[in-house]
């Protein structure tokens, strides 16, 4: 993990758009294999932009730099086993559901095509590989005490994104603000994007835009961080 100053120096020497990700954006490609609520599966539209980003960077690594904080990396590692288990359970549940009409067909004498259980396939493995590739593609920012203290202050004063008392989002947010501030101070003029599908803490209600409480901070001329609620909406901003 290079020190933040080194990452800033790399980017100012070789400018390219920056995409800062939240943990949920990286886990989402697996978490989409789950129920939104009973009977309603989640949408899977998050997978294609993740693949598109990785394809673009495989072809042209200079097209953009993906950034995460060390905390995002830690959170991903803490959660991946549980996320994977849920995806496996989701497929097993679908297999179980499909079993019911097959049993009915047996009694009714209806011929159905042979069903190949989803849980025996590599789908979850492949999605975990995609999520891992996205994580590994990212350059990690180290955490520093000063910005972690600022995050704690948000918790104490119940300010977004810690208005509910959780500190992790504020740690990421403070570090991305500080990173953008350092880039701008060094004369960096490329886009710096922050992507998070965390609606509760960052979004303006159901709108894919930053909450008004946070808007002045990211729009500060010394920061100029652009917020997007998903990779699919963020990537066109940087021509991907």
């Amino acid at each position: 993990m290079p020190p933040t100053a080194t990452v800033v120096a790399q980017l100012t020497a070789d400018p390219k758009p920056v995409i800062c990700l939240d943990t949920c954006d990286i886990l989402e490609v697996i978490q989409c294999l789950d129920w939104e609520r009973p009977g309603a599966p989640r949408g899977v539209t998050c997978i294609e932009p993740a693949r598109r980003l990785l394809n673009t960077l495989a072809v042209d690594p200079g097209r953009a730099m993906v950034i995460i904080t060390d905390l995002v990396h830690t959170e991903w590692n803490q959660n991946i086993a549980g996320v994977r288990k849920k995806a496996d359970e989701f497929l097993a549940k679908i297999d179980a559901i499909v079993g019911y009409p097959y049993r009915a067909a047996g009694f009714a004498g209806t011929v159905l095509p042979v069903y190949d259980p989803l849980s025996s396939k590599t789908l979850v493995d492949d999605l975990v590989a995609l999520s891992t590739a996205l994580l590994n593609q990212a350059t990690r920012l180290d955490l520093d005490a000063a910005h972690t203290a600022l995050a704690l202050d948000r918790v104490m004063t119940k300010r977004r994104p810690s208005h509910d008392g959780h500190i992790k989002d504020s740690i990421n947010f403070e570090h991305y603000l500080a990173f953008a501030r350092r880039l701008r101070a060094a004369g960096f003029v490329e886009d710096v994007l922050f992507v998070s599908k965390n609606r509760k803490d960052y979004w303006d209600g159901d709108k894919d835009r930053i909450h008004p409480d946070l808007k002045p901070e990211i729009e500060d001329a010394a920061v100029q961080l652009q917020f997007f609620g998903s990779l699919v909406s963020a990537l066109p901003q940087v021509g991907i």
């Binding site: 939104e36 949408g43 997978i47 294609e48 495989a58 072809v59 492949d126 590994n136 609620g229």
Partner: protein, 313 residues
């Protein structure tokens, strides 16, 4: 990103050396098979589904050597007309081409060998990109990258192909197209022009005499409203549209619209206003009505979100 299942084109393909065939969506398979049987046309259905990126499965109907292609195409045209008549009216969503190459293990192994030898039709193999591309894929996935200055779009582009399926030898599909010059994306028409160039000047010449199939299909480039909304919300939206007085919205219509707004809020669904507008346009709501409905949708959701925030605090 679903392909339009019922109204996808129905065409007899005669390329390659594996005999004429028809690619159908799962919705088309039943009516097409029934019509072919009624006409006494012999065929076999390839039981292994073809999967496009994010689109429903397709099936391949093999007609066998010596099939009467003109007669079969006539049957397909009749089925297509009937399916379109039954299907929903409305504009077509923008689409983009996908490309899949399929064949038996031996033929695909031979094709892969031909790919590995490198250049053809102006396309150059990019081993450097392949190494990076492979690192982003599941272990042991077959991966290729070729680049070319494609005259139709006047840009240097890279085409990424990856293996899929058991052993990943029996199918290659287009994973992505990335422009190497300029920063902007290719638009959908340019994307399709690159796919066509790659298929015609690289894949087909190399695949000739191998008995593999080169399938290209257009799939929707945007998610549909049906994919975004829950079953309940979609049912409420359909009920609203079916009952609404499209000249002047009645009080009861507005109540049904409010029910739809409430359901999307309960579902916590993010709805793209453009997608909603397009759906309402398909249902023949006038521009001023659509504008008013979407305004009400936005203000309704804003109010409900504010209410939730107040309750939380």
């Amino acid at each position: 990103m679903a392909t339009s299942a019922a109204d996808a084109p129905l065409t007899v393909s005669t390329d390659g050396t594996a005999g004429p065939y028809v690619v159908v969506t799962s919705e088309q398979l039943g009516p097409v098979a029934e019509a072919l049987r009624a006409e006494g046309v012999r065929f076999q259905v390839d039981q292994e589904a073809v999967l496009l990126n994010g689109a429903p499965a397709l099936a391949v109907i093999d007609l066998g050597m010596g099939a009467d292609v003109t007669r079969v195409q006539g049957v397909l045209d009749r089925v297509a007309t009937e399916l379109q008549r039954k299907g929903r009216r409305g504009r077509r969503a923008p689409t983009r081409k996908e490309l899949i190459i399929r064949g038996d293990a031996a033929a695909m192994r031979e094709l892969r060998g031909r790919f590995e030898t490198g250049s053809h039709g102006g396309w150059e193999r990019r081993a450097d990109v392949e190494d990076r591309f492979r690192q982003t894929l599941p272990p042991r996935t077959v991966a290729f990258c070729f680049s070319k200055l494609v005259p139709a779009v006047n840009r240097q582009v890279a085409v990424l192909m990856q293996g899929r399926g058991p052993g990943m030898w029996e199918e290659l599909h287009l994973s992505g197209i990335v422009p190497l010059t300029g920063r902007g994306q290719l638009d959908l028409a340019q994307h399709d022009q690159v796919v066509t160039d790659f298929r015609e000047t690289f894949v087909k010449p190399l695949a000739r005499d191998l008995g593999v199939r080169v399938l290209d299909r257009s799939v929707s480039a945007q998610p549909s409203l049906e994919e975004v909304l829950s079953t309940e919300a979609m049912a409420r939206l359909r009920a609203f549209a079916a009952a609404a007085n499209k000249n002047t919205l009645h009080e009861l219509d507005l109540r049904r619209w409010a029910g739809f707004i409430g359901q999307t809020h309960l579902d916590d669904t993010v709805v793209d206003p453009d997608l909603l507008d397009a759906w309402l346009a398909d249902e023949e709501f006038q521009a001023n009505q659509r504008e008013a409905l979407i305004r009400e949708f936005n203000s309704g959701r804003r109010l409900l979100n504010a209410y939730d925030d107040e309750r939380r605090e």
